[in-house]
């Protein structure tokens, strides 16, 4: 790689020849505005805000994709450039629906930030001469698309393609009438969408959002008739702090518990507990299948994990022939809900109809999961409302709670106890590692107390590892990010007997990078490995926990002794397992 000498604003610099003008400016800390640019994901040069003047060229050029050349002279702050940026911002503003105070991007809207910085008046938007575009809404139980706020930067379209390989979102119509939606604005739920939520996080404004249950939760809390129980997912504690200015990867578990208490939740539980239960169920299922297999009985191996609702939506739509491989165990969220409604309700002596279970999740697909028909029992849902990490932060603000000043709190509920294994569920490889710890212990003639399975950790798209039990070696695999699923299936098809267990997570990095997590600014994403930092918080919780294997959680053990009986037993099966079915994409309209 050679270097070239260039000048930006008369400042001489030597940069690699593969650099774009924007790379060079970033290195020199020269500010260039941008909206449509997401490094390596969306480099479409559509917004025309990063334009610069390059000497010798007739028109302004976008700095995000134009590569540097020897002797290039760039100007980023001339009147011509500033006017162009300002005028383009004016055009964008004129076609944007401003209702910032109810918009979930109020705190971190990239358009608003630029409008402030360039002091752009919205004269054009307020002049009745100028028409507004036609807007469309596409709202499902999990995802809301509101094109009135869309500025057509195309970041969601690129992100959808990049992260899922499915291309659910795209541009419809053209010119001024262009809008982003599934093909022909068909209902998003029918369009094969996974609800990974990557589009929401890619969006610079509030055109995409999770469909919020905030007000429902407030109603629950204000209704004395309800006994409202909160459950906190593993990954939320590693990210919520970011919403309040804490560094990425800060564990704010204690403050979250305190905030929930302040808000008036009657009881606070932790999904990590249910994660431990999940391992009991899924682990038992795996052991059963391995034993069947070893005895030559027909069984479905590899077993697939079933914790990630994005992944469940994926397999039901794109690889339904593999559904028998899917663990029938519910996800931790639903296990916790079912345990609360059908067992814990009796213990605390509150009728289950009066109990409202509210989940705090890093994920928007969890909203859809809670709505599944299989997750209801005679009209009683396992989980009544699901809030994402972002919605949780908004709720905390709406309650006027000064989050950073909160004292840590530890809930007393037995359903809030967890092991290190439960804690790492929130990151890629976590479910696998937790399962391996328990399965190995169960199958080994003598328990060797193996805790760390580092092969399954880290950011590699598909990780393979060996599970050695006494003298026998089994292969397992971990895959995260829906875009990598086809490759995983290719490997499984190529060698159907290779793996015994595969962990699938819909999001790259697992739940810690879920679609409901705080939005990291496009510019920060270029330099920070968000997944790694957040995952580290979970691994620290794990390593600091005295108990690190799910089957050693004393409350889990007693739950099985007093109520459930054996893992995979009759009652456990009724409450904690579910079914799946093939789903059509763009199926026939009813």
């Amino acid at each position: 790689m050679s270097n070239v000498k260039i000048w930006i604003n008369n400042q001489e610099m030597t940069v690699p020849s593969t650099y774009t003008v924007l790379d060079a400016a970033n290195d020199a800390d020269i500010y260039i505005p941008r909206l449509c640019f997401l490094k390596d994901i969306s480099e479409t040069s559509a917004c025309r805000l990063c334009v610069v003047e390059i000497e010798g060229l007739n028109t302004l050029k976008n700095s995000c994709t134009v590569q540097v050349w020897e002797g290039m002279k760039v100007h980023t702050n001339t009147k011509r450039v500033n006017d162009a940026v300002k005028n383009n911002l004016k055009l964008l503003a004129a076609n944007h629906h401003f209702e910032c105070w109810v918009c979930h991007r109020e705190e971190n809207c990239e358009l608003l930030e630029l409008l402030r910085r360039y002091n752009v008046p919205n004269t054009m938007g307020e002049d009745p001469t100028f028409s507004k575009k036609t807007s469309y809404c596409n709202i499902s139980n999990s995802l809301t698309i509101d094109t009135s706020k869309c500025i057509l930067c195309g970041r969601c379209v690129s992100a959808c393609n990049h992260y899922t390989g499915l291309g659910i979102l795209d541009f419809n119509r053209r010119g001024f009438d262009t809008y982003v939606a599934p093909a022909n604005n068909d209902f998003i739920d029918d369009a094969g969408c996974l609800y990974c939520g990557k589009c929401i996080q890619a969006c610079p404004v509030g055109a995409l959002s999770g469909t919020s249950d905030e007000d429902i939760v407030i109603d629950y809390l204000n209704n004395d008739n309800y006994y409202v129980i909160a459950q906190l997912a593993p990954a939320v504690r590693a990210a919520l702090g970011e919403e309040f200015g804490n560094p990425i990867g800060t564990n704010v578990e204690g403050k979250i518990y305190r905030a929930l208490k302040r808000m008036g939740f009657d009881e606070i539980t932790d999904v990590n507990f249910a994660a431990d239960v999940t391992i009991m169920e899924e682990g038992t299922e795996l052991i059963g299948r391995i034993q069947d297999h070893l005895q030559g009985k027909e069984t479905h191996l590899p077993l697939f994990t079933s914790c990630s609702p994005g992944w469940i939506r994926y397999i039901e739509r794109y690889y339904p022939e593999y559904l028998p491989h899917l663990s029938t165990a519910k996800s931790p969220q639903q296990i916790q809900g079912a345990l609360i409604k059908h067992i814990y309700a009796d213990i605390i002596n509150v009728p289950k109809e009066r109990i409202k279970v509210v989940s705090f999740m890093p994920c928007i697909a969890k909203k859809d999961e809670a709505d599944r028909e299989q997750m209801k029992d005679k009209g009683v849902k396992d989980v009544d409302a699901v809030l994402t990490t972002r919605e949780f932060a908004r709720l905390i603000r709406r309650f006027g709670i000064n989050f950073n000043n909160l004292q840590d709190y530890k809930p007393e509920s037995p359903l809030a106890t967890y092991t290190g294994a439960g804690a790492i569920f929130g990151t890629t490889g976590g479910v696998m590692e937790a399962a391996l710890r328990t399965v190995k212990a169960f199958l080994e003639k003598e328990d060797k107390h193996t805790i760390d399975f580092t092969q399954v950790r880290g950011s590699v798209a598909i990780k393979e590892a060996d599970l050695v039990i006494d003298n026998q070696t089994f292969k397992v695999a971990v895959v995260h990010g829906a875009a990598n699923f086809p490759e995983m299936f290719r490997r499984i098809k190529e060698n159907p007997n290779k793996y015994i267990f595969v962990e699938f997570m819909g999001c790259e990095g697992g739940c810690i990078n879920g679609g409901g997590q705080p939005i990291v600014k496009a510019r920060d994403l270029e330099t920070i490995d968000v997944c790694k930092l957040r995952a580290q918080a979970l691994y620290t919780i794990d390593s600091e926990n005295k108990i690190r294997r799910s089957h050693e959680n004393p409350n889990v053990v007693s739950l099985y002794q007093t109520h459930l009986g054996k893992p995979g037993g009759e009652l456990a099966h009724k409450l904690l397992h579910t079914t799946y079915s093939k789903k059509e994409v763009f199926g026939e309209k009813k």
Partner: protein
């Protein structure tokens, strides 16, 4: 599979036929491109064929050909005799067709009154018929209207595929690129980029798969040069694409053509099939070791897909949206591979250049723009149609001598070139020799060759609006300035033509136009403000009149126009009969009046008046 020798034999035979050196006495051709067919040329063809059959005429060859170029005079029948005389019968109807067949073909009598000379008279200002030199010089349209596009043999007869032979068996790829470079051929699609250079850059990246693409996504309003070539002489394009493939080491070509050209698609596909049959396409072209495949890709009619990166996206199956350049297609084009994209007309020049040499081509036209250019002449001009003139011909020569001047003897006001990307040229520019750089210097551009002539009845604000409406409709919606900015400009223009604009709007309009030009992603966006900017520059007074006095001088902008009948009125009643809302009253031979309460300012009465007594205020 045909060999070189086979082609030579076909060539000899067909050249004889075309020159009537066979047993035939006459060669009769009927122009049956889209324009001819629209004027029922097929009926005329049938009548002549029928007569030939009925009368048992054995010494006449009847053939359908592509566009002859005189669009306003369709249907056209041409008769060639053994002495190489050519008689062009215009506006042939069923009666005339029978007459031509019976009198000329049987009796040998030339029907002078139907000949083109009666229709295309060039007059001077006093109406006296004058002789003008023939400016036309046909390279790209060489075979159009001469050969039957469905007969590959006829194409071969007129030196078809001879250039391909020469290239394959006598030249190296580098030599081919060299000849094209030296010829000075520049892209005829609008930008005018040197073709040889494009080929050279692409050839420099060879090594893997490269592609040749022919851009036949002609979309400018009023432009139909490419269609004429594809309908009239498809093999010229096919041959050039194979030559280009050889020059840049590409073995796959695509013709990207809009589906709204069904006849062109049909004829091109037929020609491709024939070329495969003859072994001119496919494995081992002309029994050489060069392979070349050619496929058609249909566009769905998006104007932006004429932009090369959007075109590439469209072929790849993506939404037709432009990508940023660089990287240019020459290095990363179709599926990321080196790609040459040339326009139909550009390709149509290539075989000739190879055959006759770079020097021959360079000698035609001007120093910086060699060769000829095909124009589609339209608007308020007498001889609308297709013409091909050497570069450097002046606008005056094209409009007055070739085009025969304006209709109804009205005064020339402006000519629009370059379609929605171009601009307006005025009386002051009439003596400008037409070439790429001159037109750009004058605030317009060559574009693909549409040329719309306007007279005093055209409102320049309205014209700007017309083109902008087109771009607003055709913007792909990708980049902010083009997607949003163009509509905002149009909305300001609407304000102006509605008489609601202020001077600030005029200022905003210019600023917006300059910004869009400066920051848009692709050439479509960058040139979209051109019609606005050039009318603002050259007809600022007219804008001012709209803004300050709320008046449209040409009487076009309905919302600010009031129509009035002057004392010139002779009371003929033509206006009264033409008024759709019965707003005009008056007795015969007495002055008529317009009821302004009823009048909708449609302006229908204005051209109906024989004495120009209706004026707008």
């Amino acid at each position: 599979m045909k060999t070189k020798q086979d082609l030579n034999k076909i060539r000899e035979e067909n050249l004889k036929k075309l020159n009537l050196l066979d047993n035939n006495k006459y060669r009769v051709v009927v122009g049956m491109a889209s324009c001819g067919l629209a004027a029922s040329a097929d009926v005329i063809y049938d009548i002549i064929e029928q007569t030939i059959k009925e009368k048992g005429l054995k010494d006449i060859s009847l053939t359908s050909v592509g566009c002859i170029g005189e669009c306003a005079l369709e249907p056209i029948v041409e008769v060639y005799d053994k002495d190489n005389n050519r008689y062009t019968y215009c506006m042939v109807n069923e009666k005339k067709a029978k007459e031509i067949a019976e009198k000329h073909l049987i009796g040998g009598e030339v029907l002078n009154r139907y000949l083109i000379e009666n229709f295309k008279k060039v007059t001077d200002e006093e109406g006296k018929v004058i002789d003008v030199p023939n400016y036309q010089y046909r390279i790209a349209l060489k075979n159009c209207g001469i050969i039957n596009p469905l007969e590959i043999d006829q194409y071969i007869g007129l030196d078809g595929y001879k250039a391909l032979e020469k290239v394959l068996f006598e030249m190296t790829p580098e030599e081919v690129v060299d000849v094209v470079t030296k010829s000075g051929l520049r892209g005829r699609g609008g930008g005018g980029f040197p073709t040889g250079l494009k080929w050279k850059f692409t050839a420099a990246n060879k090594g893997g798969q490269s592609f040749v693409i022919c851009n036949a996504d002609e979309g400018d309003p009023g432009a139909f040069m490419d269609r004429a070539v594809l309908e009239g002489d498809p093999h010229a394009v096919i041959e050039a694409m194979i030559i280009c493939g050889y020059a840049i080491s590409a073995t796959q070509g695509y013709v990207y053509i809009r589906a709204e050209y069904p006849l062109a698609v049909e004829r091109l596909q037929y020609a491709i099939d024939k070329a495969y049959e003859y072994g001119l396409l496919g494995k081992g072209v002309l029994v050489s070791n060069f392979d070349f495949d050619l496929e058609i890709r249909l566009g769905a009619g998006a104007f932006v897909c004429g932009e090369e990166t959007a075109l590439i996206a469209s072929i790849e199956g993506e939404r037709g949206m432009p990508r940023n350049k660089p990287p240019y297609p020459a290095s990363q084009g179709l599926w990321g591979r080196p790609t040459v994209i040339n326009n139909v007309e550009t390709f149509a020049n290539v075989a000739q250049i190879i055959l006759k040499g770079a020097d021959w081509f360079k000698a035609i036209g001007t120093e910086k723009a060699a060769g000829t250019k095909v124009f589609a002449l339209g608007g308020k001009i007498k001889n609308t149609g297709l013409l091909e003139v050497p570069m450097g011909t002046t606008l005056r020569e094209v409009i007055y001598d070739v085009g025969g001047g304006l209709t109804k003897g009205k005064a020339f006001k402006a000519v629009q070139t370059g379609g929605p990307s171009g601009g307006i040229l005025t009386k002051d520019d009439l003596d400008t020799p037409i070439d790429y750089d001159n037109l750009v210097r004058k605030g317009s551009m060559m574009g693909s060759g549409g040329m719309i002539v306007m007279d005093q009845d055209n409102c320049m604000v309205d014209i700007a609006k017309f083109y902008l409406e087109f771009t607003v409709e055709e913007s792909c919606g990708k980049c902010t300035p083009c997607r949003d900015g163009n509509l905002r400009m149009l909305e300001i223009l609407n304000k102006i033509t509605d008489g609601k604009a202020t001077m600030k709007d005029l200022d905003d309009l210019r600023k917006l136009a300059l910004m869009i030009k400066d920051t848009s992603l692709c050439a479509l966006g960058q040139s979209a403000p051109n019609p606005v900017l050039s009318t603002l520059d050259k007809f600022y007074d007219e804008y001012l009149e709209h803004v300050v006095n709320k008046r449209c001088p040409a009487g076009v902008c309905k919302n600010i126009t009031k129509l009035l009948i002057t004392d010139e009125c002779i009371g003929c009643g033509k206006c009264l009969r033409n008024c759709p809302v019965n707003a005009i009253s008056g007795d015969v031979k007495k002055k008529h009046y317009i009821d302004l309460e009823l009048c909708v300012n449609c302006g229908t009465c204005k051209p109906a008046c024989p004495v120009n007594a209706i004026v707008s205020l």
